[in-house]
């Protein structure tokens, strides 16, 4: 099967926390990603949290909950928040849920 469970790679640079998610975001793997990002967010207290979704290959509504939850968490601790590289179908999902009115989307990540 050509499915790849989502994973997250965390990187902290200049007090900015970047969480790069890869693979397929569904309910099965959303919880682990949530816990990893939240642990890093609370321990690093960065100025900004960036979720990089350039390499997300599939996302259902579990991804909407995951991103909205991280946005809320960042707000709570006074950290700026942005989503980068949400392309095609992933971006369409956010727009459908109206999250484009709440969350800052930045352009594709330069590779």
């Amino acid at each position: 099967m050509d499915t790849k469970n989502a994973a997250v790679k965390l990187e902290s640079v200049n007090n900015m926390l970047r969480a790069a998610i890869t693979g397929e975001i569904d309910h099965h793997c959303a919880k682990n990603i949530r816990q990893e990002i939240d642990a890093a967010l609370l321990s690093a207290s960065p100025d900004k949290l960036i979720i990089d979704m350039s390499d997300v290959t599939f996302m259902d509504s579990s991804g909407l909950g995951l991103i909205l939850g991280r946005y809320t968490k960042a707000e709570e601790v006074g950290t700026a928040f942005a989503v980068q590289g949400a392309h095609g179908r992933v971006r369409q999902m956010f727009d459908m849920a109206g999250l484009d009115r709440i969350i800052t989307f930045e352009g594709d990540v330069k590779k």
Partner: protein
């Protein structure tokens, strides 16, 4: 509806690792009809939502059977039925409202039925409390280029 040209019936446990399995199997079944990339993505996402509902809501903390039946018709119509024997939905109309969720603490977005409805060409939800829920989705694939 006419007799289907091809049918695949599956039963699997309502375990979260079967969410990706279910959408992959749906994609593999539909691939026989040469769907567009967008149509395939629509179907995968809708199936993922329906199966996640069985995992998260129908059986709650327990595990139960999920029945999935896929039918392909001569006119390039696909019918996918996903059924559980779980707790059922007391008020289907309310449950189908965008952003409505009974599980906000686990960050469920409440967009599952909206996604199914938006990405498919037909969606019917039948449910009886204590008996289970059956979701029927129709997708009409575009004609093949000549």
């Amino acid at each position: 509806m006419k007799k289907s040209a091809n049918t695949l019936k599956l039963q699997f446990d309502s375990l979260s690792q079967n969410e990706s399995l279910a959408r992959s199997l749906a994609a593999a079944f539909v691939m026989q009809l040469n769907p567009t990339v967008a149509e395939l993505a629509d179907i995968k996402c809708a199936v993922s939502e329906a199966v996640t509902n069985c995992t998260v809501h129908a059986y709650r903390d327990a595990v139960g059977p999920v029945y999935m039946a896929m039918h392909a018709y001569e006119n390039r119509k696909i019918k996918i039925e996903i059924r559980d024997a779980g707790c059922g939905i007391p008020d289907v109309e309310t449950a189908m409202q965008p952003l409505y969720t009974t599980d906000a603490e686990n960050e469920r977005s409440g967009m599952g039925f909206t996604v199914m409805d938006s990405f498919m060409d037909g969606l019917t939800v039948r449910s009886r409390p204590g008996k289970g829920t059956k979701v029927t989705m129709i997708k009409k694939l575009s004609a093949l280029p000549r």
